[in-house]
């Protein structure tokens, strides 16, 4: 039990993510979390105006059920399967974040500088969350998948388009962290 309560090492977590992917394939579906965003748009009626959202979203209900399970899984893991413990980040990361103005680095899952209500109700904080979310939603549909669909499923099945997409993920991520963060923070 003690092992479960500790953070899980990468060599346990990684294979388990592959098991999730494999189980969904075994059930005749595909692992892809960003598709749910399109489904939710369709449920909201976007199909009345935009062709892209005119599809049989009911066939995607299984994936929304995966999302509901994932939310419950997050709840169980966070509140019942975790000792309160700091994230074991590298010292350089902590140092870099401190110099960008982040304090209490790694003492929670997300930095209060961005996700606390104080931050959310500041204009800058709100704009960061909205821009980040927008770019994720736009980019993932443009690229036809996200980390689950391209990085895990696509690379596991040795697909070149997914490799290109993952290279794109890193181009964007590196630009953001190395070039834009120093301006933002």
């Amino acid at each position: 039990m003690e092992f479960i309560l500790q953070p899980w090492p990468w060599y346990v977590s990684g294979p388990l993510i592959a098991v999730v992917m494999f189980l969904l394939l075994y059930f005749g579906r595909t692992f892809g979390m960003s598709s749910n965003l399109r489904t939710l748009c369709a449920i909201g009626g976007a199909g009345n105006r935009v062709e892209f959202f005119k599809f049989d979203w009911k066939s995607q209900r299984w994936n929304l059920v995966v999302v509901l399970g994932a939310i419950l899984g997050g709840y169980i893991a966070h509140f019942y399967l975790s000792n309160p413990i700091n994230i074991d980040l590298s010292e350089n990361t902590i140092k870099d974040l401190n110099s960008l103005g982040f304090t209490d680095v790694g003492q929670s899952l997300l930095p209060p500088e961005l996700f606390s209500w104080d931050a959310v109700f500041s204009l800058k904080g709100l704009l960061i969350l909205i821009s980040g979310g927008f770019l994720v939603g736009f980019g993932t549909r443009y690229a036809g998948g996200c980390t689950s669909g391209h990085a895990i499923t696509g690379l596991s099945s040795l697909q070149i388009p997914s490799l290109i997409a993952v290279i794109g993920f890193f181009i964007g991520g590196l630009i953001m962290i190395h070039l834009i963060y120093p301006i933002l923070f």
Partner: protein, 138 residues
């Protein structure tokens, strides 16, 4: 209802693994893009390696899905522009808010409700892509 239970259970497993691995943490994503820890690369690397083996073995053994078909991963369309540009846009957002779509949902379960703003914005981003789709190079 019954046919959905297995998906619910897989979702629970997914949520637990991503929280316990700390892959839902903004800090871990920052650290990854700084190349300052092997942690995230270890997760993605072992996930892909395990995935490759599972798919090869199931192909070799002709494992069938519960529907009786051969296990099949849909092929992505050929292309370059959409993957490199779309991927880069995704990467910018991923690094900025520290969450890709899976973790966004999972973080709701950990009680960080400000992530709902990110989810709402992601829905808007998806909607805008749907509007612009035919005007964008793919």
């Amino acid at each position: 209802m019954g046919k959905y239970i297995k998906f619910f259970l897989v979702g629970i497993l997914f949520g637990i693994v991503l929280v316990k691995s700390e892959a839902v943490s903004w800090y871990r994503i920052f650290e990854m893009f700084k190349f300052q820890s092997f942690h995230m690369y270890g997760i993605i690397g072992t996930a892909v390696a395990t995935g490759i083996i599972l798919l090869l073995v199931s192909k070799q053994m002709k494992i069938k899905t519960i529907n009786g078909n051969l296990l099949n991963v849909p092929r992505k369309d050929r292309g370059l522009v959409r993957y490199i540009i779309g991927g880069s846009i995704f990467g910018l957002g991923w690094a900025l808010c520290g969450a890709c779509p899976g973790p966004m949902y999972i973080l709701v379960g950990t009680g960080v409700f400000s992530i709902l703003i990110v989810i709402a914005a992601a829905l808007l981003g998806t909607f805008v892509y749907g509007i612009l789709k035919d005007k964008l190079p793919h």
